[in-house]
Symmetry: C2
DNA sequence: GGATTTTGTGTTATCGGTAACATACGATAG
DNA sequence: CTATCGTATGTTACCGATAACACAAAATCC
């Protein structure tokens, strides 16, 4: 089974391959009639252009590498969707990889993705290995970190402050009059998003002069509903008088709510519970769960549009100035933290 | 910024590029000493091989195209994860695209993916357009449909029968003694997975001689929790004496459970509710939701291993015989359908 | 009406590797 | 001691498209 290539069309049309190449792109000065004829022949022959070869020749691969910790997570799935929506119309194909929250896996994926000569890389903020950072820097392409504003960015940034968002939500719990507030999340001290949220929690609790010891560490991410449930049960056993809990994410918070339901503990009457991320479950849960609203779709869309901007502005000497784009976040107050009458 | 290429290494080592090419692969007969020297130089120079060029030359792109309806869905996210796990170690990069349940989008994605010359295509079963099917067939590469066993497969299959699984779950509801059973799902009559589940529901209900009219049609997919909630409320308004409901998926079923909670309707006492897919929410919900257990990870893993098998067995004349791999499914009975005392 | 520009198309080289074949040389066999 | 072979490496061609430049014919100018 021989694939049709440009030379076949050229032969059929009695022109050179260069003319075919020009006719099939918007580019180039071509007689309208010639173009129509070539397009018709291409269609009749069922020609499928070879973008690999085209990219190889024009030194533009048409790929953008994207790394997320997990696909099985609304956040990152939406980010990927936002990226695809923005990149696909521009002829860019997303190379998606998920790291399963493992640094070694991330480094591995970065390495193999770079072998595909992407035109840009999008990586979810994390405490990447030195080698991973070096590979990204030396690739000489735009690198965009998403989902946080790193203290030491590798390149461009599309994110927000997990720390201050978590602090804002904690502040809300404090203003409810709660004073024995716990936190459920990973214990990892490295610079991850979860750790930033824990820091924000501590910022707010300490500023209010409250007990800052009620940190319940789960296993490393991914932290799902059942982890949240188990953690909540354990936290209440250890500190039975806890009156509010901030969870590192919404699924985790839903697990905490379900633990209370099973134990007959009223939410929000006895314990207020808040999550992070505005997942669907936090809206549909009974009671609905207060959460920090972030749009993964927006992050993906912003990253995509930044990439398009950076790639089209490639006339500059040296690297483009570092861009930092902040996406909006907000606190959604719902039933799980409504004031006690 | 000039990238290092094989020629640079060859010059530094005083050998030809061909020797470098051989040394950096496992292939070829190379003096161990030469290989070590070349590998060291490559490392020192920070060489990153160009897999695009390599693939272009060897006529193997190293890509596998994967199409799923949605990423924001545990099912397909796990499938993608299973595929990546299986393909990445073999040096294959997944090109992932999501169709948002739209046929036109699927056709578009198939077209642009084929321009990347993938070595195989994985598509989620759906009622694809004629043109999409033709493109896939004419690509001359292995095509694998997943998540259903199609009546007219395009190529290979890794799936299960949505219809009989749904029938089995409906049968379970019938055996509970329920006789006014509803179904919540899409109305679309096309050959989608949801439509197959509805057929299975009807099979079982009719076989038992029960009322088969309680079909509540939601909007087209994606069908989320809130759609399930609204649909359940509307279904109960229309048919207040309904005593069991099968939902097209778990998130939808959770929405239905939450609708009952809000309305003060006991689950399972007054209405039993079952879902489909074994999402985390069905396990963590209170009550936990009975569901059809399917492993998206297994589907992805099976598809990946089938691809590797097909690609390595490319010595055959003509196409390889069509393979159909069935993955296990089972009924998980949980609180939402426990018998009334 | 000849010079200049514009338009449409062709030619050549090349992107970074690898397949296929060629070759030099030391080892082994007879 | 020569014929044969296997091993390690080099040479050449090419994968399918496009960039850069060349060039003839038609259009425009003064």
């Amino acid at each position: 089974m021989q694939r049709i290539k440009m030379a076949d069309i050229a032969r059929a049309a009695g022109v050179s391959t260069m003319t075919v190449s020009r006719a099939l792109r918007q580019d180039g000065r071509i007689a309208p009639e010639t173009r129509r004829k070539i397009q018709r022949i291409a269609r009749d022959l069922g020609y499928v252009p070879d973008r690999i070869a085209a990219g190889f020749s024009s030194r533009k691969s048409g790929f953008v590498g994207v790394l997320v910790p997990s696909l099985n997570n609304t956040h990152f799935a939406e980010t990927a969707a936002g990226l695809q929506n923005g990149l696909h119309p521009a002829g860019l194909q997303m190379l998606l990889g998920y790291t399963n929250y493992e640094k070694a896996q991330a480094e591995q994926l970065i390495e193999t993705m770079l072998e595909r000569r992407p035109e840009a890389m999008v990586v979810t903020y994390d405490d990447h290995t030195q080698r991973a950072r070096r590979l990204l820097v030396e690739a000489g392409i735009p690198v965009i970190e998403i989902w946080e504003v790193p203290p030491k960015p590798i390149g461009h940034v599309v994110g927000f402050s997990n720390r201050s968002s978590a602090a804002a939500m904690t502040q809300h719990l404090i203003e409810l009059g709660r004073c024995k507030i716990g936190f459920i999340g990973e214990a990892n001290d490295a610079g991850t998003r979860g750790a930033q949220r824990r820091r924000g929690f501590l910022d707010a609790v300490r500023a209010a002069g409250l007990d800052d010891s009620r940190l319940f560490a789960t296993a490393p991410p991914p932290i799902g509903m059942m982890q949240g449930r188990d953690a909540m049960a354990a936290l209440l056993e250890r500190w039975p008088d806890t009156d509010a809990v901030l969870c590192v994410s919404d699924p985790c918070a839903y697990g905490a709510v379900s633990a209370c339901q099973l134990a007959g503990i009223g939410v929000p009457d006895r314990v207020a519970i808040a999550g992070f991320g505005n997942f669907e479950i936090s809206l549909c849960s009974v009671p609905a769960i207060s959460t920090v609203a972030i749009s993964g779709l927006a992050i993906g869309a912003e990253a995509a549009s930044l990439i398009l901007r950076l790639l089209s502005a490639e006339g500059r000497t040296g690297a483009a100035p570092r861009e930092t784009i902040l996406v909006d976040t907000g606190i959604e107050i719902r039933g799980s933290t409504s004031p006690i009458d």
